[in-house]
Symmetry: C3
Subunit: 253 residues, 3 copies
């Protein structure tokens, strides 16, 4: 199935569009862009932005992407299959992104950044340079992941590491270089200034350890964390069945 | 007076544009959109967005709307007269919005959400699922109104309720399910984790009750709250005269 | 060299484009806009926005500007040379902006605002009415600079003043009317409710004085502040050599 390109869109001749790709009105696809089969790019987007005077860098986006309107994605990144964005996002160069990454409206990724598989970043999140978001991480709205410990500085950037399954709630600031341990929960409106041990919950300004995240209960009394025990929406069965053996003890529709 | 549609705009044949409607350059009006008389939609907008593969839902926007550039509004909402947005907003499906709602630049409404009459939401605010913003509410920039008490969860969303005349200052996070009582003030950069009694002021992380909002004074010594006693700009006389009898004791131009 | 205007762009006949100006696809240049030589305006922008029913105000942008995609800049401002914006910014009327101002993605300037020379405002910052950002100021992401001490009010706006060389870190809220003294550092996620003395560091909600900023050390043990002693990237030699005599004691590439 040939790509469907709206007559008002501009696609660079060197761009490669897979089978069944669709490109919406007023969208620009730059040079050296590869869009995997069945990917959709909505209207008013720029895919493969290159700053004037620079050589275009390759941008590879896997199959089945859904890029919503007014998105700007620079050249110079590799993005896995089932990539999904909201509206008005900005993604700079230097990304290495895994499968099924979802990025919310107005979010801004500064790059270079490493993103694992099945990561969800909600609306209006800023992800700073050298951050590492591992598999199954969640970041909620209005969180900023900083990178420069002594702004402005040169070459002293320290990336934040979010280990697998971490949830960062809304309105948080993560200081440069902190590491949030696997399965941990950062409560809303928290300033994280030190590393967070795995499986814990932290809140406050600055963050303090409030105990084990597993002590937080859902309305039915069962533990809310690790969330993978009960929340499976959006993950394929192969992923869920691989989650620690405990994953299938409860199931949400 | 017939609608004025810029030659570069695309209007779906099933959309209904009222008398004197104007549609700016590079704007898309989707199926089943009704735009009331004299409404204006500026450039680079998407009104009535439908996700691929879904049936278009009706979007009704009342008379005299002013929708500024780069706005994205999904199908599936009912919006009252004199709706006004800033630039780069995103409004998803499921909204029930009253008269003269104003939404600032870059704000993001997730839906479903209920908004009363004469509500003002400033720039870069995120309003989460199931929120209820009653008449005359104000929300200032960089406030996030959360919805999921145990992210990620399924079906446990708890909407925030802002009662009439509430003011939420800049940089706040409102946790899922909290209710802010009528006439209350939430100070800047506050994390609201519990209900707030009517007529009070709360500040801090987490928020604490700091007394009655009526004790906050304007430079001339008169009480700053309830604000409807002295601030009338943008409200019609019929609204102001209905405000509790106290509304006309002082007047701002 | 004549301007290069993409065939899909619309340029008002009264706009004046300097030598070598480029205007990207789907961009609108309004009436009474002056764009200095070699300036570039990328795609999907609105430069010189005028609200319907108002008279267009002049917008003067100096030479060598770089305005990235989806930017909205109102008429009624004067902006110096080497102006640079990210994507999706909104700049309202009434700005007086010096040389080489850089404004990050999704930022929002409400106006009127005064900005000195070589000011850097990062992504998703909101600058409120009557703010004054003096020379060499830095403001990091998700900071909001407020203006209304008793929202909603009429005519009581109090502008924030950031003196020269100030750095405001990510996620801060600056209350109306506060003055941050020269060379000071506001730590991340801070609520600034009072004036900050020059050369100090403040953190917390609300902010507290944590001592002199000069006591903060870089990894090599030298003081991180005042930053102009060691950080010179992006400033011309004439600027750096004028910095207090101390500026050249250390140098960053």
């Amino acid at each position: 199935m040939r790509p469907t390109v709206h007559p008002t869109a501009h696609v660079d001749p060197s761009a490669q569009l897979g089978d069944g790709v669709s490109v919406g009105p007023y969208t620009l696809i730059g040079p050296r862009v590869e869009l995997g089969a069945r990917s959709r790019v909505d209207s008013h987007c720029i895919i493969g932005h290159t700053e004037p005077g620079r050589d275009p860098l390759p941008l590879r986006i896997g199959e089945d992407a859904a890029i919503r309107s007014h998105a700007v994605i620079y050249g110079g990144s590799t993005i896995g299959t089932q990539f999904e964005t909201g509206h008005h996002v900005a993604v700079r160069e230097g990304m290495t992104i895994g499968l099924n990454f979802r990025l919310g409206n107005h979010s801004d990724m500064q790059g270079p950044i490493t993103v694992g598989d099945y990561v969800r970043v909600h609306s209006s999140v800023i992800v700073g340079e050298h951050a590492e978001l591992r598999d199954f991480v969640w970041v909620l709205p209005y969180t900023v992941i900083a990178s420069d410990p002594h702004p402005p500085s040169d070459g002293h950037y320290q990336g934040v590491v979010l280990e697998a399954y971490v949830v960062v709630s809304a309105g948080c600031t993560l200081l440069p270089g902190v590491r949030i341990g696997r399965d941990s929960l950062v409560g809303a409106h928290t300033l994280v200034s030190r590393d967070v041990r795995p499986g814990s919950v932290v809140t406050g300004v600055p963050a303090r350890d409030r105990g084990d995240a597993s002590r937080i209960a859902l309305p039915d009394g069962s533990p809310a964390y690790p969330w993978r025990r009960h929340f499976h929406r959006g993950y394929p069965d192969t992923v869920v069945s691989a989650w620690d053996g405990v994953a299938n003890s409860r199931k949400s529709s």
